[in-house]
Symmetry: C2
Subunit: 123 residues, 2 copies
DNA sequence: TTCTGTTATGTGTAAAATACACATAGGTGA
DNA sequence: TCACCTATGTGTATTTTACACATAACAGAA
């Protein structure tokens, strides 16, 4: 397929936002490093190999820059130092707001998919 | 929020694909012009003002280039000429395949949203 | 007859998001 | 000392999305 240029979000699920939510969710219980978080993606049904580690790290740094997380270096333990992330109050608020919007988007997609499914069934 | 660079689709709903599906769905019943299709977006719960007309036209041309639609000029009737689109067999197949994938993605999102909702509830 | 509004189709390009590949470095054990 | 595992990060090309603008036929009013 050739190049597509389309435009217009406001409608849906954006990957970066989904991953924001996933990491925030995973950090609700315990602090964790980027490496650990990447591995824990399978807990929410996402194949970790879909998310190259470089991308996860960049995302986490952005989340920290946006105040959703804070990090500190952990040098104890074996192996190289880890940057361990912890969720902030602002991060929790973000997750709550994301949930509200995601539920609305889910509803829109359900309606659309339902329409199309019914239309294709009675062909 | 500052610039985010994230990566990794394979996971979800891409706007252009959703609009492909919506236009194909709308064209299942009747042929229509880009202008008409833009207005009919409200039929599937999408506010037409979300999709600037320039974007809809470009998308339809792309869909034709990809063999999902065919068009012809309609000069009869009043007002300027219309490019009227009709769905192809390939377009129908695309829509069917989209539906299967969309249902899977919907399921993934439902699971994720459910997890997060339950976690936030018992805070 | 020209000016304004409506229908109708398109293009150019800046900005943002995504994909892919590469770079760095500490520690462990053969 | 070399390979391997853990761990974090950067560079940049490509693709997607957003926003603004350009074109043109026709209708009706001034």
């Amino acid at each position: 397929m050739r190049n597509k240029k389309v435009g217009c979000a406001k409608f849906g699920f954006k990957m970066s936002n989904i991953l924001y939510a996933v990491f925030l969710y995973l950090l609700m219980d315990n602090s964790a490093s980027g490496y650990e978080l990447s591995e824990e993606l399978s807990k929410v049904g996402i194949d970790p190999s879909y998310i190259p580690s470089g991308i996860a790290y960049r995302l986490l740094r952005d989340m920290e820059a946006n105040g959703l997380l804070v990090s500190k270096w952990e040098t104890s333990g074996s192996g190289p130092a880890k940057r361990v992330y912890k969720i902030t109050e602002s991060g929790k608020k973000y997750l709550e707001a994301w949930l509200v919007e995601a539920k609305r988007n889910l509803q829109t997609m359900e309606n659309l998919i339902g329409l199309i499914e019914r239309r294709l069934k009675d062909e």
